[in-house]
Symmetry: D2
Subunit: 310 residues, 4 copies
């Protein structure tokens, strides 16, 4: 089964719909909690191999925090979101390590591409303490945790697989737990930059269960890995695929004639489609992932062209 | 007729297809020239009101330069593109003003949003001479043109309409011609950052002929306006709309049964759709226009959440 | 008299010291107020031509807010600083215009150079309302002020004098008052990014009284101009000059022999000098203003050199 | 002896001057080559312990390339500089490893601070091949070198010492040689961003010979380390110190009376000092290293203050 989403709760939805299940999937537990300020927490637990097979994700906890809005928030609402994230991350940390055990935070992705920069941006804001503990311990409480943080860059720029870099650092720095931040793919435009998934199963390229040794996981690194992911993009093909599914359903429901199809094609369905695609306040556009670089190159060519023409 | 593209040559294609025209549209002239390095120049001329009505664009010249690739070009190929742009811009300038007449270059768009930053980026690279001519004329050849350049920002950030800002500057600086740079919408993913449209009819919001007085045009500013635009985005709805059209055609061609629709729906069409949507080497994603800002906000919330949890 | 500072209170100090004045300068009034969180407000008033001549600054109000620290402030302290700025700016606005009169905020400087980007950065954060008032007045209270904001760029990049751009916009937008933001030069390293000067006399290039018609002032624009400036740099020559003055004083005080000078020269005075130059926690370095651009160029040359060598 | 410069050729000058040496320092060899376009190559070789002691730098090769100008260069001149860098780097590489041996390029410094971003910027432009060799070897010539590149960040942001990060990666990636890029301190404003030092002795914090095991060196990493450094800053104290030295010399030469000192102090020496400090075309300013961050904080406070006042 192909899910085309990294979010465990979306996979659960897709699976249930595809298999027309009304009850919970075997091997899965799920609960939802609504907090104030329209913050919703969904906790999906994959209990065993049955659950692993159903969602093609590793056994463990997958917590999703959905919020309605993140820009221009008053400070109180902002603090409520921060508190929710903190509480869920803490709950997973406490399952695996002691209060004062060392943690390394790793931010994945390419800091130069807007839609892939989340990991790098988060790292810049983490309050690291490891060097203080080492060189000026008098500035920290005795029981304070050693925290370090790194953004290893992407293989296209470094030539090195992320696992190789992180493994090298873990071997030297010897943290007891890893927190990894990454951008995710979602199936829903509405969730872009409004949803946070926190899990204690690490990050596996392609998301499959089989290749855990190639991901940032306990199997590959020897320490528990908490992954925090945020959807920043949806594939166009996913959107069109969904639109086509809806459309075929409609044709079937209405058992329409060829004449109807003709009419449909002549009509301009743009507004309807647009409405369906633009939930909330988003102004959706399709941009190639490389738009940052393309814009620089284009600006150079055009400005030189103008300079020469003048 | 709704074109959903700012490119005159795309509008011509849409109009011809919709009206099943084999010959040229009345009031339109079009020629295509293939240069080396796979540079293609398309020159659409709107001759009269008939042409204006057909394409809903003002009478004048619309030149499109399409290139195959813009990143990592060897210097010679890069120079060929620059030369083509320069030649076409120059040809339009020379229709309207003298060799040494003053020019003001205006870069539109929001420099902080990647997909809208083209105008601002171009302005940073324009070789301005007006201040040198004014204060140190000895550093310039006597017949050199006065060039100035400005990026007025977007109304959402300034509270002022672009026309108001530009009109104020034109009244004070008194150039003889304006060159305006902007990002455009195209109907084709393949053209994003690979196509340059150069016209001598200015820029009209919404593109319609009727409201020329509200755009950056000769009507509103009193001087000729050359517009250079580059497609940087395609609307998702356009893509889905096109995909649906193709799909309906296929259904009609094959006069398929309901059974067929059932089968189709159960199949996974993702790979086919992806292939259709990803011409060339683009890695397509759908990103909200506000992704830059969203990413910053999200990074703050998550990092604070992590800090608090540790 | 050459002051080499744009800060009125520093000019007052220099003038008093140079003229060995114990009492206030004729034509000047000055008061100091200490607020909580070590915020100090100094209000210098130039009353008449005598005062203008002494400080070579126009008649009017010059308010300086000094703070001890601006990074990593707890929210309450941050709000106290914001409140102080707001109160002083408001007091000057209210002298000149009505509660609901239109205001245009102008951010000067080159947004691409770190030490000159303040004006541009401030503009990005101003809550503009003019377009809302014009197009969606129902979203605003009836008595709310029309606010617009623009960053006109620097003459080196636009070829246009700032006054020409601003005059054009003022003529079209017709605000009743201008607020101008700019980076200033100070005589004191300690004040860099820790001091805010607010005045109601506009901004005059070179600071002199004589050329008010060339600056952004009531004389040139026809409306009152409030200037908000922040010191972001000190000239190296100012620092060395001050160090030499101190040194000569020391020599004179001690009526030292040539032998002493010899000894002094052989000693390493670096640590003493460093201490004298680095008040507070600053890690001082001397950087060419163009360092941003130089760093880009250098990185290109070195990386290409390495690529070629490999 | 305190040199306050990382450049071997400057240390040689300081040492010779301090010890009034006319001949070469024992244990040092030095040659200078002038290439076209005013490129000068200085090759300092530290031959033995005597040389190490004199310059407090490790035995090995220190090559400095000085250029007159780096911005707005015509392509030919730019290529000449790139060729010089490439030739010198290659000569050092070939002393230590075979033509096809693996190389890891490491960019030091904080990419967010303009004056410290060089290492990070260079890394973004290195053509890495290691991943291609591993996953798509058919795209590379068989004898092509495996190249990887990483920017490990600074300890203040990561909590991890650079050596720990790099050691971890070297242990996993197993390159045969390291190239390290870093910003340097120079004694001369004129050399900022105009001089490149290439050495085969690695990078040692503080520059001392004694603590080689703590630096990025053959001793600590087990493979040869080529260091490429570029001066991006001069300490203010160094400049003032030099100015005082010059001044004392002048006093001594002229055996001046106290009267003279009085006169000197009353005169305004600013212009002379400025001239002495501003060789070439630099517009010197003193900026705290933290100016990037300070500017952001300040812009926030001021804009909020304005917003509140309006």
């Amino acid at each position: 089964m192909l899910f085309r989403t990294d979010m465990a709760d979306e996979r659960r939805d897709v699976y249930k719909k595809a298999n027309k299940l009304e009850d919970e999937i075997e091997g899965i537990e799920c609960e939802t909690e609504d907090l104030k300020d329209e913050i919703r927490v969904t906790r999906v637990k994959i209990l065993n191999e049955k659950g692993e097979e159903a969602l093609n994700k590793k056994k463990g906890n997958y917590i999703t925090i959905d919020v309605k809005k993140i820009t221009n928030l008053p400070e109180e609402k902002q603090n409520n979101i921060i508190n929710s994230i903190s509480k869920e991350v803490k709950s997973l940390i406490n399952i695996h390590i002691k209060e004062d055990a060392e943690v390394l935070v790793v931010g994945l992705g390419n800091g130069n591409l807007v839609a892939d920069a989340l990991g790098t941006k988060v790292i810049e804001n983490i309050e690291v303490t490891r060097h203080i503990k080492k060189y000026c311990p008098e500035f920290l409480n005795e029981d304070e945790r050693e925290i370090s943080a790194i953004a290893p860059g992407v293989m296209g720029l470094t030539g090195i697989e992320t696992l190789e870099v992180v493994k090298g650092i873990v071997d030297n720095v010897k943290p007891k737990l890893l927190i990894v931040i990454d951008s995710l793919a979602s199936r829903s435009i509405e969730r872009i930059s409004k949803s946070i998934q926190i899990s204690d199963t690490g990050i596996i390229p392609g998301g499959g269960v089989g290749n855990a040794r190639k991901g940032l996981t306990k199997e590959s690194l020897g320490i528990p890995v908490i992954a925090i992911g945020i959807p920043t993009a949806v594939e166009t093909a996913v959107i069109v695929n969904d639109a086509l599914d809806l459309f075929i359903s409609k044709l079937q429901d209405e058992a329409r004639s060829n004449e109807y199809l003709n009419k449909l094609k002549e009509e301009d369905n743009y507004e309807e489609i647009k409405e369906a695609l633009v939930p909330g306040n988003y102004n959706l556009i399709v941009t190639p992932k490389e738009i940052d670089e393309l814009a620089d190159d284009m600006a150079l060519l055009v400005s030189e062209g103008i300079n020469m023409s003048l």
